[in-house]
């Protein structure tokens, strides 16, 4: 499998771009400017090769056979788990559960942790800026248990109101579930402070880290959360693979969610003994290739360095904010003082859907719509926004292309 070279010296974006085969292609006769990284980021050759290399030489089911391929597949799969453990500094690989992604992780926690524990009148706290995947599983859990979902407000900048949060933490609060970084607004929560306050009161905590791990170094032990969830495809890995970190003593106290193969030690019609962590929560044949690809994505990010990536992206954000600010009728949606590298905006007189089409005709890929955060749209009183989200391979030239395409759309449609 491709060796990963460690990047030294300054951040060389052209070298980074050369690692991503798709960036060489044209879209509608123009060079692709891929600015939809918050939806799904592109994959470097190291990830593509790791997945293909596994299929070519090592594929077999894991944890099941004594033959060579099965041992190799198991070793690769478990090595990816160890990479994920180090990536977020979990104490042990028993705390790393491979799942389909963030959505599945939140559902698992709701059903395996929440459902047996919650009583009518108990409270679950989320914020107003959550992605639907950190809202709907809790609404379903409330329907099943009689618990109540409470929502911490945000302000016009898209900052979650910490004082209100403290006031809302009450004797019935059982679970706090918060995004580390908002996908619709870019807001970075001071998550430590939120988690500290919950932990002091003995409340279980889940962090939706889907938009955080591609941009900043995460240390789950320093954060002190019970659960931390993220998806491979937002951090330059494959789709269909993600991680739920769960603190060991919290996981130990949970019953399994799905039953099947791999999650058992022994099965008989007199009774079944469940497997140890983390396998207890990985029923059935897992996404082996996906986990290996995720491991390769982690290696790739580490070789460049999260700090360096964050620095490059923050520069892009500052540049883009300045370049777009003077576009007539453009209003940023989400202006928190601490933001990750994305910008949501509206343009007076031009609907986001039309913008998306015009931009695409010029090779610029952005996301338009509600970004699976309809409460955020409701709060800002807009049906949809246009979102440009930057990753480690984006350039100032691409932001210039975005600006030109926006001006073109305005001339054409307003």
């Amino acid at each position: 499998m491709a060796a990963v070279r460690v990047m030294r010296g300054h951040f060389d974006v052209e070298r980074v771009r050369a690692d991503f085969p798709v960036l060489a292609r044209q879209v509608n006769g123009r060079p692709l400017a891929y600015l939809d990284n918050a939806a799904s980021a592109q994959q470097p050759a190291a990830v593509i090769d790791a997945v293909a290399g596994y299929a070519r030489a090592h594929h077999a089911n894991v944890h099941r056979g004594v033959h060579t391929l099965s041992q190799e597949a198991t070793a690769l799969y478990e090595a990816a788990r160890e990479k994920a453990r180090r990536f977020i500094n979990a104490a042990s690989t028993t705390e790393i559960i491979f799942l389909r992604g963030t959505t599945e992780a939140v559902n698992l926690v709701a059903q395996a942790h929440g459902r047996p524990r919650l009583k009518p009148g108990d409270e679950i706290l989320v914020s107003w800026l959550e992605h639907h995947s950190n809202i709907v599983p809790w609404q379903m859990l409330c329907g099943q248990t009689g618990a109540v979902l409470r929502v911490v407000p945000i302000d016009r900048r898209g900052v979650v109101d910490f004082d209100r949060y403290l006031a809302m933490l009450g004797p019935r609060t059982r679970i706090v579930a918060l995004a580390h970084v908002s996908n619709a607004l870019g807001t970075v929560l001071p998550i430590r402070a939120f988690l500290d306050a919950a932990r002091e009161r003995g409340i279980a905590t889940l962090v939706d880290g889907a938009q955080a791990v591609p941009h900043l170094a995460v240390d789950v032990q320093a954060l002190g959360c019970d659960f931390y969830a993220f998806s491979g495809h937002k951090m330059y890995g494959p789709t269909g693979i993600g991680v739920l970190y769960g603190r060991e003593r919290t996981l130990e106290a949970m019953t399994p969610w799905q039953g099947g193969g791999d999650m058992i030690l022994s099965v008989s019609f007199d009774g079944t003994t469940y497997n140890h962590l983390p396998h207890r929560f990985e029923a059935g044949t897992p996404n082996i290739a996906g986990a290996i690809g995720l491991g390769a994505a982690i290696d790739y990010l580490k070789a460049i360095g999260m700090e360096r990536i964050g620095h490059h992206e923050q520069e892009l954000l500052a540049y883009a904010t300045a370049r777009l600010a003077d576009i007539p009728g453009l209003a940023f949606v989400g202006t928190a003082p601490e933001k990750s590298s994305l910008m949501s905006f509206t343009i007076e007189g031009v609907h986001p859907h039309d913008l998306g089409t015009v931009l695409d005709s010029e090779g610029v890929a952005v996301r338009t719509g509600h970004h699976c955060a309809m409460p955020v749209m409701e709060y800002f009183g807009v049906p949809a926004t246009t979102r440009a989200s930057f990753g480690l391979y984006n350039t100032r030239a691409e932001i210039d292309a975005l600006r030109e395409a926006l001006l073109h759309a305005i001339r054409m449609l307003r």
């Binding site: 609907h351 986001p352 049906p383 054409m412």
Partner: protein
């Protein structure tokens, strides 16, 4: 793919100055349509005389394609019977979805929407108003959606 074919002058004009926009005071039929993908919302109001659409208006937020389509539709169906509207919708639908189809001669200004078929993601934008109109004619209370 040619943007100028999608955003023809007629479309841009009807988006800037939608005709029959607003709430019809004497409306006896109305229906709501949603496109959950882009958050578009449309409300169609009808004043019927027997089988004929005597007056029509619409309200809502949407992209240029959905606004222009609703505006063009409102002009096209005024004074027509239910059966004529059904025929017209058939022609519009063929134009929006069938690459081989000749654009029907009776479409008039609605033919400006022919470029939409090159943009499959946008067909729903153009057809939302027609589905909403059908719901209003059928007197259906549940909002229609494109999904």
């Amino acid at each position: 793919m040619d943007l100028a074919d999608l955003y023809r002058d007629v479309i841009v004009d009807h988006n800037r100055r939608p005709r029959n926009f607003g709430r019809l005071a004497g409306a006896i039929h109305s229906a709501e349509g949603n496109n959950p993908l882009c958050g578009d919302k449309l409300h169609v109001f009808l004043e019927m005389k027997d089988d004929i659409i005597r007056d029509i208006s619409f309200e809502g937020t949407g992209c240029a394609i959905s606004t222009a389509s609703a505006s063009l539709m409102s002009e096209a169906v005024k004074g027509r019977s239910r059966a004529q509207v059904a025929d017209l919708f058939g022609s519009v639908h063929r134009m929006l979805t069938r690459h081989d189809a000749e654009t029907d001669a009776d479409l008039g200004k609605l033919a400006a929407l022919a470029g939409v078929r090159e943009f499959p993601m946008r067909v729903k934008c153009a057809s939302l108003c027609w589905h909403t109109l059908n719901a209003a004619l059928a007197g259906s209370a549940a909002p229609v959606t494109t999904e």
